[in-house]
């Protein structure tokens, strides 16, 4: 069985697993909704203020960041060591990490779309260039998913994995977040960025490099 076929099969398995125990995915979606609601409750009168678009941009990505960490932490922790050992006897480790990255990207995309929808509903929608904003969401979800999936693979080996996720993950995510903020503030109209294509290609480059590193390094991680 080729790695690609294995990956597809494992993605299918992830989905099936998620479908059977719906609490995980519904938990994430509820998490997003309640966070957005808290943002809404605590930012009364923000719509009228001059800072609305600045605050919207910052809050949106903070909500996405924390929800992503929450969603992805479980990807390696939830399966116990024996089951992982079973996977590794069956398939190529690259297929394992690749399937998790792809699956988490899908989850993050759904989650980002939901928070975008919830933000628009509760707080308002200042986005002017929808297309550019969706490019930001897409590349951001990929970057978050690659980094956090790999970090969760590292953190799951230690006992205090929840703390480690934040300590290891946040600093590494910063280049991605900074570039995303530029992209989205341009889409919102906060600033005029003349080099938007460069930003997008930088983001793609960072995603690809981290993806390559994750695929190369993961085989050394799983052996226990």
């Amino acid at each position: 069985m080729g790695t690609l076929k294995e990956t597809l099969f494992l993605i299918q398995k992830e989905m099936l697993l998620e479908w059977r125990q719906k609490y995980a995915i519904s938990g994430i979606f509820l998490y997003v909704l309640s966070t957005v609601f808290i943002v809404y409750m605590s930012s009364q009168g923000l719509q009228e203020s001059n800072l609305f678009r600045n605050a919207w941009n910052a809050l949106f990505w903070i909500v996405i960041l924390f929800a992503s960490v929450n969603a992805i932490t479980k990807s390696f922790v939830q399966e116990n060591g024996y089951r992982q050992l079973y996977y590794y006897t069956l398939v190529n480790p690259i297929a394992v990490i690749l399937s998790k990255i792809v699956y988490n990207t899908l989850i993050l995309l759904g989650m980002s779309a939901l928070s975008y929808f919830a933000f628009s509903l509760f707080i308002g929608n200042p986005v002017r260039d929808q297309q550019q904003f969706f490019v930001a969401i897409l590349l951001g979800s990929m970057g978050f998913s690659i980094t956090l999936t790999f970090i969760s693979a590292i953190a799951s080996k230690a006992s205090n994995s929840a703390t480690l996720m934040a300590i290891l993950g946040f600093p590494i995510l910063i280049p991605i977040i900074l570039t995303l903020l530029r992209l989205s503030s341009n889409a919102i109209g906060l600033m005029r960025d003349t080099s938007i294509d460069t930003d997008i290609s930088i983001l793609i480059a960072i995603d690809l490099i981290l993806m390559g590193m994750a695929l190369i390094l993961f085989p050394y991680l799983w052996r226990d």
Partner: protein, 355 residues
């Protein structure tokens, strides 16, 4: 003995050289202050000029100009030396000046045989009430600036605001270069560990990371002192380079937290090696790409500022700066080696106790 340790002696020599040369070589002469700043066309003002690093003596033939552009300059009527760092210069400003602005900031140029020529851009501001450039050009009798001298002694560039702190280039910048190179070393030993599962390679990674982080902290401290003296603040979150270097340090501090959360040695070594490689790769865009795409930066070479080099890094600076990078990096490697050997000793002692 010498064959094995020559590079340590080299490291010490180069670092000593960079400190001694950096401290002893003076800045070029320059103009610190010109008073008064606002002048009017058609008057005969007397300027008091404070200079820096000059040793004027009675009888020196000091010439002075207010430079308008490469063709037009107003020479001084008389230059008197008040003391070896202060001059009093008389000018006769013509009524008509060859530029169209009502008022313009102009450079003051001084020239003397021993000191060479030196300039202060925007030293004075001339206001003209009647603007008539054609008349100014037709009646202009002054010759352009020529026959100026060169300052031939070994010296560093004199720049406004920075002044003597330009010498921090030899300590602050090489520390960052050293940090990146030493962390690269840590990454290479991580790869070695993953290939061979050698516990000593893991100790190497640990020692290199420790020294790399130490260099990073020292880079922050030297930069902070520099910032206090030039930007007027110890730390500013407006400045992207300060933010990304703080984050780079966080990435590597997390490495120590990660290590401390494992009991099993083999597992700790393997997983922290994996993280070390991933962290280095993630740090590269952080340190080298993000600062370059940000608009606002006070560091040279970033955010549309003139690049690091050109006039600011002239040949005399290069002669100290490039060796300093090599010297500090070698010194860092030596320090990492010492830490490594101490770690190996305690590792062996622990093994002995266990057996």
């Amino acid at each position: 003995m010498i064959k094995k340790h020559w590079w340590k002696a080299l490291a010490v020599l180069i670092v000593l050289y960079s400190i001694i040369a950096g401290m002893l070589i003076p800045l070029k002469p320059g103009i610190l202050q010109v008073h008064p700043y606002n002048l009017e066309a058609g008057t005969s003002p007397t300027l008091i000029v404070n200079t820096y690093n000059t040793k004027f003596e009675q009888g020196d033939n000091i010439r002075a100009w207010i430079s308008i552009d490469s063709n037009y300059a107003i020479p001084a009527r008389e230059t008197r030396m008040l003391n070896n760092r202060q001059l009093s210069i008389d000018f006769d400003l013509p009524t008509f000046l060859p530029f169209v602005e009502k008022s313009k900031s102009l450079a003051l140029v001084l020239d003397e045989k021993e000191h060479g020529a030196f300039v202060r851009p925007r030293a004075i501001n001339i206001t003209q009430n009647t603007i008539d450039t054609t008349r100014a050009q037709s009646v202009w009798t002054y010759p352009p600036i020529k026959d100026i001298h060169r300052y031939d002694k070994m010296s560093f560039p004199m720049r406004g605001i920075i002044y003597e702190t330009i010498k921090n280039t030899f300590y602050h910048v090489p520390l960052w270069f050293g940090m990146v190179l030493i962390l690269l070393g840590a990454m290479i030993y991580s790869i070695k560990y993953l290939q061979k599962a050698d516990p000593f390679a893991d100790l190497r990674v640990l020692s290199y990371t420790r020294i790399g982080v130490l260099f990073g902290i020292l880079g922050c401290v030297t930069g902070s002192i520099w910032a206090k003296n030039t930007w007027g603040t110890w730390w500013t979150f407006e400045e992207i380079k300060l933010n990304v270097s703080a984050i780079a340090l966080l990435i590597y501090l997390a490495y120590f937290v990660l290590r401390s959360s494992f009991e099993d040695e083999e597992k700790r070594a393997r997983i922290s090696a994996v993280y070390s490689i991933f962290a280095f790769v993630a740090m590269v865009p952080l340190l080298f790409v993000i600062p370059r795409m940000t608009e606002a930066s006070l560091h040279p070479g970033n955010g549309g500022n003139p690049g690091f080099g050109g006039d600011d890094l002239d040949n005399s600076m290069r002669m100290v700066f490039y060796p300093a990078i090599i010297g500090w990096t070698l010194l860092g490697v030596w320090m990492a080696n010492l830490v490594y050997r101490a770690d190996v000793l305690s590792y062996k002692m622990m093994e002995k106790e266990l057996s």
